[in-house]
């Protein structure tokens, strides 16, 4: 313990209370700011370590972190087993396409679309959540699978109606001209400052992800968040505390879906194109891998899981490239298959031996250092 007494409720409500926490926060913020600059450094890392790819992986992981954390908000905290999440990525990309500056869009800017997408996601989230009032547990799981297939069909029909056979493209968003006076904003010859490349995207995705994560953490530590947990653990007891179980479930669906939709818009714009072939059932598996390995039922787990999902293959591939491993023929031939298998095994191993996932591991490490050098 820090040995500091909390004397005020207001102080007790702060997320950052102790000096070590404050130090971690400052270091974290500084590191976050430094990382994109470090990744810009032009050098040749040892063993052909992929360097720039980390920038892309970071952006993907950040954008997916919103989705994975929102999945945990619904699954982990509210106990609603919904896998309609990929459907909301689809909703996000469609919102971005309909309102955005692509060939068939209304021409709005990404900065306007993002909040609208959150609202659209929330509304559709409520609609998708309605079955949750009727069915629960694994039946709900299945009902939301139906939503997924419906969303894919809808997207395909939309794509065929607009861009026909070509994928829907999302042009690079630009910073409005009245903001060009800001430092580091150097418009190109056409007088535009386009968000392109990993470095610039980082400064878009990272703050949005941070805001979304902070939003979710805040929801969870206030009245509705407690109600989510109450509904998960014992919905009859929750109702007897005055919690409208139905409305609470729908609110959880709305909040979670809004976040996933935002993540869907971000990813669509970052990837720059989406087509009907972008959505397969594997996306659901991807989210599952992220949340399990990260640790479900915590927001932190979702974030850690997303990072694991995009960083681990980089590591694995890098390791496979080492001379002595690279010389094994079987590994060379089955490289990516081995990755897939490792992911599958990771899910099993984590759930059997460490159900709290990476987040649990993190907590263990923290506890260890807190008690160090006294072991129990």
């Amino acid at each position: 313990m820090s040995g500091k007494y909390i004397t005020d409720y207001r102080e007790d409500l702060r997320l950052i209370k102790t000096t070590p926490q404050r130090i971690v926060l400052v270091v974290g913020v500084l590191a976050t700011i430094a990382i994109p600059f470090i990744l810009q450094i032009d050098w040749d890392p040892p063993f052909d370590y992929p360097w720039r790819a980390w920038g892309t992986a970071l952006n993907l992981a950040l954008a997916w972190a919103i989705g994975a954390a929102a999945f945990n908000l619904l699954l982990g905290y509210t106990g609603q087993i919904s896998i309609a999440h990929a459907a909301f990525l689809i909703v996000g990309s469609m919102t971005g396409a309909i309102l955005g500056q692509g060939a068939f869009g209304l021409g709005w800017s990404l900065w306007v679309i993002l909040p609208i997408a959150a609202v659209v996601g929330a509304v559709i989230g409520v609609l998708v959540g309605l079955p949750a009032l009727r069915v629960r547990g694994l039946y709900l799981f299945m009902a939301t699978l139906a939503v997924h297939f419906g969303a894919i069909l809808l997207f395909r029909k939309y794509q065929l109606a607009t861009t026909k056979f070509n994928a829907i493209t999302y042009p690079a968003p630009s910073i409005p001209s009245w903001l060009h006076w800001l430092p580091f904003i150097n418009p190109d010859e056409a007088g535009e400052f386009l968000i392109k490349g990993d470095f610039r995207w980082f400064w878009v995705i990272m703050p949005i992800t941070s805001l979304c994560i902070i939003y979710m953490v805040n929801v969870l530590r206030t009245r509705e968040g407690r109600a989510f947990v109450a509904v998960r653990d014992n919905d009859v007891a929750a109702a007897l505390l005055g919690i409208n179980v139905a409305r609470t479930k729908l609110r959880a669906f709305a909040a979670s879906s809004a976040m996933v939709t935002v993540s869907g818009v971000l990813l669509a714009y970052f990837i720059t194109a989406r087509s009907d072939e972008s959505w397969s059932i594997e996306i659901i598996l991807d989210v599952a891998i992220m949340t399990v390995v990260g640790g479900f039922s915590t927001i932190r787990g979702g974030v850690l899981g997303a990072f694991f999902f995009f960083m681990a293959p980089l590591w694995l591939e890098w390791i496979r490239g080492w001379g002595f491993i690279d010389s094994v023929d079987w590994i060379k031939k089955n490289g990516a298959n081995i990755d897939v298998m490792i992911f599958g095994l990771a899910i099993i191993v984590v759930l059997v031996f460490k159900p709290e996932g990476l987040a649990g591991l993190w907590a263990d490490i923290k506890r260890y250092f807190k008690q160090w050098p006294f072991k129990y």
Binding site: M142, N337, I348
Partner: protein, 291 residues
């Protein structure tokens, strides 16, 4: 009308595979409370093993079915003891996710062993067709239906009138009471996994003779067993059979009349509607609320 009958006939053949798959799926769920996402992979494993046994080694089909059933069942039992047993008491969804992990591993294994190329239909069963007026029914479809029915009947007799079947029902009904009566739940779980996987394995061999192509998409059949099982009710054996047939027929009708892109949507959409009207399927039990 011809079209309708033709589609229905094909749907019944397909539906009987779904029924067999759904039955194994429901059995595992009923006794162990595990929603097995890897069930489709068990089926796929059966189909791929059938390729090895029937096409590459040219073995007798009856022998092949027995051997494959044994292998897949052994895998099911091994999975129970190796992975599922320590997970008892874990939340519902973590167990589902473990089965997703198993599914991923089986997939990767098959891809490494058999390579990515699609394989054609297995021709181990008598080819040819039965013509009834304009209606054409391939022998394969008829055999498929008969084998599924036989499997279902054998399973039913086993489930209703053998000691282990009785124990399985007892464990499904009330785990603690059954344990108190001296039934070993662990053994019952293992048997359920074995039989569930066995049904999938046999269905895989049969499906390998029915489908036109054997590739890693076959696991999708396992995915279709979900709506089948859900429509019937997740814990109902009779429901699985009915659900399988309903999904098979409606899917073929939808694909025939509205186009192939409505196939998934119809199977899952139908399930969605049934769940909204009857949240526990046609034959499923509703859990009681206790305070």
């Amino acid at each position: 009308m011809d079209t309708f009958l033709q589609l229905t006939a094909s749907g019944i053949a397909l539906g009987s595979v779904y029924a067999m798959v759904a039955l194994g799926f429901v059995l595992v769920f009923k006794s162990t409370d595990v929603l097995n996402f890897a069930h489709g992979e068990f089926l796929m494993l059966g189909s791929f093993l059938a390729l090895t046994f029937l096409v590459e080694w040219n073995l007798n089909i009856v022998f092949a079915i027995v051997a494959i059933a044994f292998i897949v069942a052994a895998l099911g039992v091994a999975l129970h003891y190796g992975i599922m047993k320590p997970l008892v008491g874990q939340p519902l969804f973590s167990v589902v996710l473990v089965t997703i992990g198993i599914a991923i591993v089986i997939r990767a294994f098959l891809l490494m062993t058999y390579g990515p190329l699609e394989r054609g239909r297995i021709l181990a069963l008598p080819q040819g067709q039965l013509d009834i007026g304009n209606l054409v029914i391939p022998y394969v479809d008829i055999i498929l239906f008969l084998v599924s029915s036989a499997a279902v009947v054998i399973f039913y007799i086993f489930f209703k009138s053998t000691t282990i079947g009785l124990q399985m029902r007892a464990v499904a009904e009330n785990l603690e009471a059954a344990a108190a009566m001296g039934v070993s739940p662990n053994k019952v779980f293992a048997v359920s996994w074995g039989i569930g996987a066995l049904m999938a394995g046999v269905a895989g061999v049969m499906y390998g003779n029915f489908t036109a192509v054997i590739d890693l998409n076959l696991a999708a059949i396992g995915l279709r067993a979900f709506p089948a099982a859900m429509i019937g009710g997740l814990d109902s054996v009779e429901g699985a059979i009915l659900g399988g047939l309903i999904v098979g027929v409606s899917e073929q009708l939808a694909a025939g009349y509205f186009g192939g892109d409505f196939r998934d949507v119809v199977a899952f959409g139908l399930m969605f509607v049934v769940l909204m009207v009857r949240p526990y399927g046609f034959f499923g039990t509703k859990d009681l609320i206790r305070v």
